[in-house]
């Protein structure tokens, strides 16, 4: 299958925001004209800094938000024009994993309930076999013994276990695509590695695709096929080799900003001129003047976290 499973077509998503004056209502484009195809089975990463619009883009793909302009298409049909049956397959085919696993599981429900509701909604198993079905999927994400986890509440689990359960909830529906919004950033590094391994394994075994939203270029590089770089609500660069041959200056800046994890290299650099210019002033919408003095346009900057 080469046809894209999701197509994002000239999507703009606008939020009202208070301007610096505080009175006049202003509008900021969190997503500002994005075109993107997500192919079946591919792992597509979207990287960018806070305020780049990457999380909003994920919400648009998941239909948790609606575009102000443009449309998102599922297998060629716009999301707002899906008929009942198509909507149902859309809701099965596209699943999500969130950043903070402790809030993505209902704190008042046992794992069994959180997953059980979803399984029953989609008629995944006979009521009598539900428990075994759920246990099977917990085992598939590396929770062993699975029965032990079924009766737990989220707060009785570690962050990594919670994230595995969130992944189990997603793959239970045998989706074609999982939109993962910063699935690693609230986890410890050793757990991050495990979750990345799990994603790779799922991608290989079930040919499930991923849209991986992340600010962590290192994690992205190890898993992604294509990578899209977002800045100010736009995709500035997309491709398979942005790590080796970045074309856009912002991509180069992001790559350059990675910490090396090589103390020798860091020491030889010490005392030498700064690698980067004072760019954090640039990203502050309030500092237009400073930005102008650095020869960078400051219009349409969206500050703060989305």
């Amino acid at each position: 299958m080469t046809a894209p499973i999701l197509e994002v077509r000239s999507v703009v998503r606008t939020y009202p925001s208070r301007g610096s004056s505080g009175w006049r209502k202003q509008y900021a484009n969190a997503v500002d004209g994005v075109d993107l195809d997500v192919n079946e089975g591919e792992t597509l990463a979207i990287v960018g800094e806070s305020g780049s619009g990457k999380s909003t883009l994920a919400k648009l793909m998941l239909r948790l938000e609606q575009p102000s302009q443009g449309s998102v298409l599922y297998r060629g049909v716009s999301l707002d024009k899906l008929d009942r049956k198509q909507w149902r397959t859309y809701r099965r085919d596209i699943q999500a994993v969130f950043q903070d696993p402790s809030s993505s599981l209902n704190p008042r429900m046992r794992v069994e309930q959180s997953l059980g509701y979803v399984a029953r909604r989609h008629g995944l198993a006979e009521p009598a076999r539900l428990r075994a079905f759920l246990a099977g999927h917990l085992a598939a994400v590396g929770l062993d013994p699975p029965e032990q986890y079924l009766t737990r509440y989220p707060h009785q689990l570690s962050g990594g276990q919670q994230q595995r359960i969130a992944i189990a909830r997603a793959i239970m529906l045998e989706p074609r695509l999982i939109v993962a919004d910063e699935p690693l950033s609230s986890l410890d590094i050793s757990i991050q590695a495990q979750i990345l391994d799990l994603m790779r394994e799922l991608s290989r075994r079930m040919n499930v695709g991923f849209v991986l939203i992340s600010h962590d270029l290192n994690a992205v590089q190890s898993i992604a096929g294509r990578t899209a770089v977002m800045q100010h609500g736009r995709i500035v660069e997309i491709g398979r080799d942005i790590f080796d041959a970045p074309a856009h200056p912002y991509t180069r800046l992001l790559l350059e900003a990675r910490l090396s994890a090589n103390p020798r290299e860091a020491r030889t650099r010490q005392g030498k001129p700064l690698r980067t210019q004072a760019r954090d002033e640039l990203s502050a919408g309030s500092a237009n003047m400073l930005a102008a003095s650095h020869g960078e346009s400051a219009e349409a900057t969206v500050t703060g976290k989305t």
């Binding site: 800094e49 990594g160 050793s190 900003a257 090396s260 994890a261 690698r275 980067t276 004072a278 954090d280």
Partner: protein
């Protein structure tokens, strides 16, 4: 002012080495009926002008350790502290509140936290907050000193910035304001608890570079608490790796990175460097299939 320090047993006039010496520090937290050994017998020392990193995953006790040293532990009645923390020769665990305040005010230690918004007063202009840290009124001398500090913390156009409120600044600028406030007391030792974790990558690098410059130019000792070995590689002369309340490995940063002795340290380093080596997809299952690594403290 020195009388206060003399009372506290601080006798050095700038030559005491090590600057900070922690011996067998234990912090036991009472959580319900259980006792959590958050810090379980840690030895640590910081020489003058040295920068060390304390690295560990969540639950390793690194933040509790820092807070215990700084005497910032909340809910003191639930925490039990044992051991010795000598700063410039004086035992901080026994020091009077007045002497502690004096140490925070002048040539002692300062701190920078992960979330500057939590520590900056939202209703006061940035310049005023720095001036308050200087202990003076907002007169001409102070205000030029304020601008000097803001500039030293890497903020361009400090005169303009001093008039702004914290919420008008970006995350990186706020963290720089925190650094300026911390510098006001001319500290011999700067504690930074996850100073760049909340920042974007490009901003993170600049703030780290600023910290590195201050460390060198002022010969200021630093303790960086972080979960990110990249930050350690960037900034720290020596590193302590913590796990479950204990230091499992410590030494010169390059030595530890290149020849880690403890398997846990080795694993952390392997994990944080492997994605950075370029396009090795690294199908390493790496004995990580269980969550044994994720701190022994079950929640």
């Amino acid at each position: 002012m020195n009388a206060m320090l003399d009372d506290a047993g601080i006798t050095d006039r700038g030559d005491c080495d090590p600057l900070l010496d922690v011996r067998d520090l234990k912090v036991h937290l009472h959580v319900g009926d259980a006792i959590v050994r958050a810090v379980d017998g840690v030895d640590l020392s910081v020489r003058r002008g040295e920068s060390i990193g304390i690295v560990g995953e969540s639950g390793s006790g690194k933040s509790t350790l820092a807070r215990a040293i700084l005497k910032l532990l909340p809910n003191v009645e639930f925490a039990e502290l044992q051991g010795e923390v000598r700063f410039r020769g004086a035992d901080l665990t026994r020091i009077s509140d007045g002497a502690l305040r004096e140490l925070r005010r002048r040539n002692g230690f300062s701190m920078v936290f992960q979330d500057p918004l939590g520590y900056l007063n939202p209703t006061k202009r940035v310049g005023k907050q720095v001036a308050e840290a200087l202990g003076g009124k907002h007169d001409g001398v102070v205000s030029s000193r304020v601008q000097q500090l803001l500039a030293e913390a890497g903020l361009s156009d400090p005169a303009e910035l001093a008039r702004r409120f914290p919420h008008e600044l970006s995350g990186g600028m706020r963290q720089r304001v925190m650094i300026a406030i911390a510098l006001a007391s001319e500290p011999a030792l700067l504690f930074a608890d996850e100073p760049t974790t909340a920042l974007d990558a490009t901003v993170q690098l600049q703030v780290l570079e600023t910290l590195g410059r201050l460390h060198r130019d002022r010969n200021m000792a630093m303790v960086i608490i972080t979960h990110d070995l990249g930050v350690v590689a960037e900034l720290c002369d020596r590193v302590y790796v913590m796990r479950a309340g204990k230091v499992v490995e410590n030494g010169d940063t390059i030595d530890v990175f290149e020849n880690p002795r403890h398997p846990y340290a080795a694993q952390l380093i392997e994990l944080s460097t492997r994605h950075r080596r370029g396009s090795t997809p690294a199908e390493t299952k790496a004995a990580l299939s269980t969550e044994a690594l994720s701190s022994g403290v079950a929640r």
